[in-house]
Symmetry: C2
């Protein structure tokens, strides 16, 4: 049976409310998945700490599947909207354990396809990059220090559930990962205005990764130097650059195209 919470002084309410802050999510190693679609994307073997639903949601949905899986709390609509990150809450959220941070499986893959990013700051961009990497079949995403937190609600929303499908490693040292890639014969490429070829000419059927720069500043010189080769995304029109998530999408889909053959 769902437990009713009717006061914003309640401990569980306060705890979940606290997860809007990164430091509280980090302390407990959890994040909040909000909305019916997002919650329905949670895989069966994923650890869920608890569910929270609103009165309206409980009136229209059978709570059995949630109650069977984890503690389920029933809140007044008003209390629920205080927990929600959206203007029109759907009335359900789940507190989930974060991904495990084990990299070993990545390095054992044959011809892995990796995505690295340096200080990606815009939550929508990061979420979209994760969703695209998931669609394209990438094996992992590595985010440098200074990137927006992947468990930020806006990032999670833009992933459309892909956070449950693809490993994302945060606060990594690009230098260490580049070194690890070198060791494993995985080439690192980046889109760069000074690139000497188009992405279409790179041998992407082999193990490889693309390094994406910050939205405003692009790649730092230090990060660019870590790459095996720079490619130039052709821009036959008048715009001088692409949005970071679009550039990442074009590069990732060139890997997909080459590997289809």
């Amino acid at each position: 049976m769902a437990k009713k919470l009717e006061s914003h002084q309640n401990k569980v309410f306060k705890r979940v409310k606290g997860f809007s802050q990164k430091k509280n999510r980090d302390k407990e190693g959890v994040f909040v998945a909000e909305g019916l679609r997002f919650v329905s994307e949670i895989p069966n073997n994923w650890e869920v700490e608890l569910f929270v639903v609103s009165q309206d949601f409980a009136g229209e949905n059978d709570l059995g599947q949630y109650e069977d899986r984890a503690d389920t709390y029933l809140l007044t609509n008003e209390l629920f909207s205080l927990l929600s990150d959206t203007e029109n809450p759907q009335g359900i959220l789940a507190v989930c354990k974060k991904q495990k941070e084990c990299q070993e499986a990545i390095w054992k893959k044959d011809a892995p396809f990796l995505v690295l990013a340096e200080e990606l700051n815009d939550p929508g961009n990061l979420g979209t990059v994760i969703r695209t990497a998931d669609a394209a079949g990438a094996d992992g995403i590595f985010l440098s220090k200074g990137s927006v937190d992947v468990y930020n609600p806006k990032v999670l929303r833009a992933t459309m559930g892909s956070i449950f499908h693809i490993p994302v490693y945060q606060n990594i040292s690009l230098e260490e990962i580049a070194w690890k890639m070198q060791e494993n014969q995985i080439s690192l490429y980046a889109a760069h205005l000074k690139g000497d070829c188009y992405p279409y000419e790179l041998p992407l059927e082999k193990g490889c990764g693309f390094l994406i720069g910050n939205e405003a500043r692009g790649l730092s010189d230090e990060a660019a130097e870590l790459c095996n080769r720079w490619a130039k995304i052709p821009m036959p029109g008048k715009a001088e650059s692409l949005n970071a998530s679009i550039a990442a999408g074009v590069l990732m889909y060139e890997i997909v195209r080459q590997r289809l053959k």
Copy 2:
């Protein structure tokens, strides 16, 4: 000399303030380009009605180039921030005439590259699609009724100035444009889950266009029926769909790739 405005009762202030609403922009056929980078993208032959700058901006920049071109108004920082659409205004905006809506040049092109969209609703997505189409060298963008206004400040910001480079036609009938394309031997394609080929197999060196669907609902059946062929964007990973602007970017860049040869 810049004219000083110090009251929010002033007519010019009130007029510019009004342009945050679509109906006022439409009535006068203008839009607001805000920020130094955006203003610096205005081509020399583009009609500018007036410039507005803040005290701080005037203190740090030579206003000559603006004053020579159009009436320039100097506002207190507080008044300027009331006109601004951003949290940290840079202190300059221009009221520009909208694009002229002449389609004729498009139909006279050899092998044009067009982008059509059905009810694209998210301002960031639409702006990004325009920026990508501009980078990819597309010849024009056609937006169906029910799309977000291209002169909405959030759309403009995401275009990064591409609104000055590529014609965008709004409130069009997809049926009429599809008919016009047919007449001119321009094929219309769409990404569709039921597609019978990958985009890589389409003959995109010929005149062609891609039709993009709404973010949440995808393409309507009526719109999908207007296409000559449906292509499937491969998704070897676990995500079931791509963000609309990413899908559009992947398709547009397949045109770029094929036309590079």
